[in-house]
């Protein structure tokens, strides 16, 4: 093969299949946000057009030495002789079979080792193994004076020890009327900043002399004008709505129940925003999301797939 030939084979004819392939990819990406069926259609389009593209490319780049053997001999053979020669040319030879078999077997053995190991490394994060959020008993509700916030620190998961120490800002809103029934109402704001996860602090005086403890739980009254984050300056009002800085939603909250007169913390959840205050607040509640992740608005489309196990 000389250099001139090398040059001409490089300039292959342009194929239109890449356009179909890119449309398939685009549909796949849109489908990722919009719906699963659209995603499957996009994937199918991408695969079909991708294969057509590869077939096209492999034709234009076909190696020169694949020319029939009789051309190399030099004389013009009869069709019958060409056919006879063709019979002797092997399509799938022994060495080709052995090559593929070796590579294939090697691949299978490799996959048998790598796939379980990778699964072991990655999957436990998504099966909820580390999630366990046992309900935490915060003590009698009489420890929470009506109308003031209490800085509440507790161990989120006794098995994990001090690493699971969490802080929530809890306000007893007194009694709320729900469907004509009187129910106790609490505002329980989780201290994790929804910008990047630093602990937010109450902006206001604390009253350590009025602090109470109950088992592992410590309760310190505070009068915050709002909450602020030391890391990047996020600021929130007393309902956890963002007032300034980089946070993308309102502060997360905890669900609660009251068992035998004790306040018991449930799962924590994410909040789009809060309208109203205290017992009358309307909270737009979402499945718990990472800080920095939008749960409402157009930007939520950036995070279309919920993370399993979170």
């Amino acid at each position: 093969m000389n250099e001139t030939q090398d040059d001409t084979t490089q300039t292959a004819g342009h194929s239109l299949w890449p356009i179909g392939f890119s449309i398939g990819i685009a549909v796949l990406l849109v489908g990722l946000v919009v719906s699963w069926p659209a995603m499957i259609v996009g994937a199918a389009l991408a695969i079909v057009f991708g294969l057509l593209w590869v077939r096209d490319a492999s034709r234009t780049h076909a190696p020169v030495d694949s020319a029939p053997a009789h051309e190399l001999v030099g004389d013009t053979p009869s069709p019958a002789r060409a056919a006879a020669e063709e019979e002797h040319l092997e399509t799938y030879g022994r060495s080709g079979f052995l090559t593929l078999a070796t590579l294939g077997l090697g691949g299978v053995i490799g996959a048998a080792v790598v796939l379980p190991s990778l699964g072991f490394a990655v999957l436990p994060s998504f099966t909820g193994d580390g999630v366990e959020t046992p309900s935490v008993d915060l003590g009698p509700i009489t420890n929470f004076p009506e109308g003031t916030f209490v800085i509440t620190t507790f161990i989120g998961n006794p098995k994990q020890g001090d690493v699971s120490k969490r802080t929530a800002y809890i306000r007893n809103n007194g009694v709320a009327r729900v469907n004509g029934k009187a129910e106790p109402s609490f505002t329980i704001i989780y201290s994790r900043c929804v910008h990047l996860g630093c602990p937010v602090q109450p902006n206001g005086p604390t009253f350590p002399d009025k602090a109470v403890t109950y088992k592992d739980v410590s309760l310190t009254p505070v009068q915050p004008a709002g909450f602020g984050c030391p890391c990047h300056g996020g600021a929130y009002d007393t309902e956890g709505n963002r007032t300034a800085g980089p946070p993308v939603r309102s502060l997360d909250r905890y669900a609660f129940s009251i068992v035998n007169g004790n306040l018991v913390l449930g799962r924590h959840f994410s909040v789009g925003n809060v309208e109203g205050t205290g017992a009358d607040a309307k909270i737009s509640r979402y499945r718990v999301a990472y800080p920095g992740v939008h749960v409402d608005g157009v930007e939520r489309w950036l995070y279309p797939i919920p993370v399993p196990g979170s």
Binding site: G130, N157, G161, G197, C198, Y290, G292, I305
Partner: protein, 268 residues
């Protein structure tokens, strides 16, 4: 030139074992090939930044392996074990210091090396793949920095990791999955320390070493670029006739040898 008997004896004393080794491994020839291969005559001190980066990595690898003898990746003892290394283990302050400061040096050198490659145009044909491997090395190198930062298990380490993981989570679509993998649950717990330790000392360094081998193989195969201000034209002249106004077609970026160059000068 004739050698004295003493010199011949000396040569034999060195060469005999080398020859024995070479006959059985062929490695001496390989090392000679590495050391005596052609490089452009107008290479620049800036071109030693890659080797400097490699040295910084080797410092990290060496000190890291030995730090692992005294470090305990457990939330209850990680901080104490670091204090113990720094204050009590003989030369611990030095080795930990080398690892801590060397980490920053490694990252800085990677960026300088990358800048040199960019400014010299050394990422162009036929070296595009080596640029791509270099970018992957930069990413894995920074992942080393991120995972290593947690290991002292103090307040800075913990909250920097919280913020780092949550920055990962903000990436569209895949972000929350990356964060979920890194923190192994909905909260950062004790498993994260062991996971980061494993990533920091086994998984990522393994990947980095494999990529360094590829990176250097390509450097040796493709040769060293001369600086952009070099008066020597890049590449060998090709037989193909170029269209008018295009000068001449040249192959690769490897400079011609001096003799060929003089010859080409006569033609022009």
């Amino acid at each position: 030139m004739a050698k004295s008997t003493r010199r011949t004896q000396l040569d034999n004393a060195v060469l005999t074992p080398l020859d024995w080794f070479e006959e059985r491994t062929g490695l001496v020839g390989g090392v000679k090939y590495l050391l005596f291969r052609n490089v452009p005559r107008d290479t620049n001190w800036m071109q030693t930044l890659g080797a400097a980066t490699l040295t910084a990595f080797l410092v990290q690898a060496t000190t890291g392996v030995f730090l692992a003898m005294y470090y305990k990746p457990d939330p209850n003892s990680a901080y104490e074990s670091i204090q113990n290394i720094t204050n009590h283990v003989t030369l611990g302050w030095l080795v930990r210091g080398m690892h801590k400061w060397g980490a920053s040096l490694f990252i800085i050198l990677m960026f300088l090396h990358m800048a040199r490659t960019f400014l010299f145009g050394a990422y162009k044909y036929p070296r595009e793949l080596n640029w791509i491997i270099g970018v992957l090395l930069l990413v894995t190198g920074m992942a080393e920095g991120f995972t290593g930062y947690l290991l002292p298990w103090d307040q800075t380490a913990y909250w920097a990791t919280v913020v780092g993981i949550n920055i990962n989570a903000t990436a569209p679509i895949a972000g929350p999955f990356i964060a979920q993998f890194l923190q192994g649950g909905s909260q950062i717990g004790p498993d994260v320390l062991a996971k980061f330790y494993s990533l920091h000392m086994l998984v990522i360094p393994g990947a980095i070493m494999a990529m360094i081998v590829l990176h250097m193989y390509l450097v040796i195969r493709l040769g060293v670029t001369s600086p952009p201000w070099s008066p020597v034209a890049a590449g060998r002249k090709r037989d193909v006739e170029a269209p008018a106004g295009f000068g001449e077609y040249r192959e690769g970026l490897i400079r011609e040898h001096a003799e060929e160059r003089e010859h080409a000068g006569e033609e022009a």
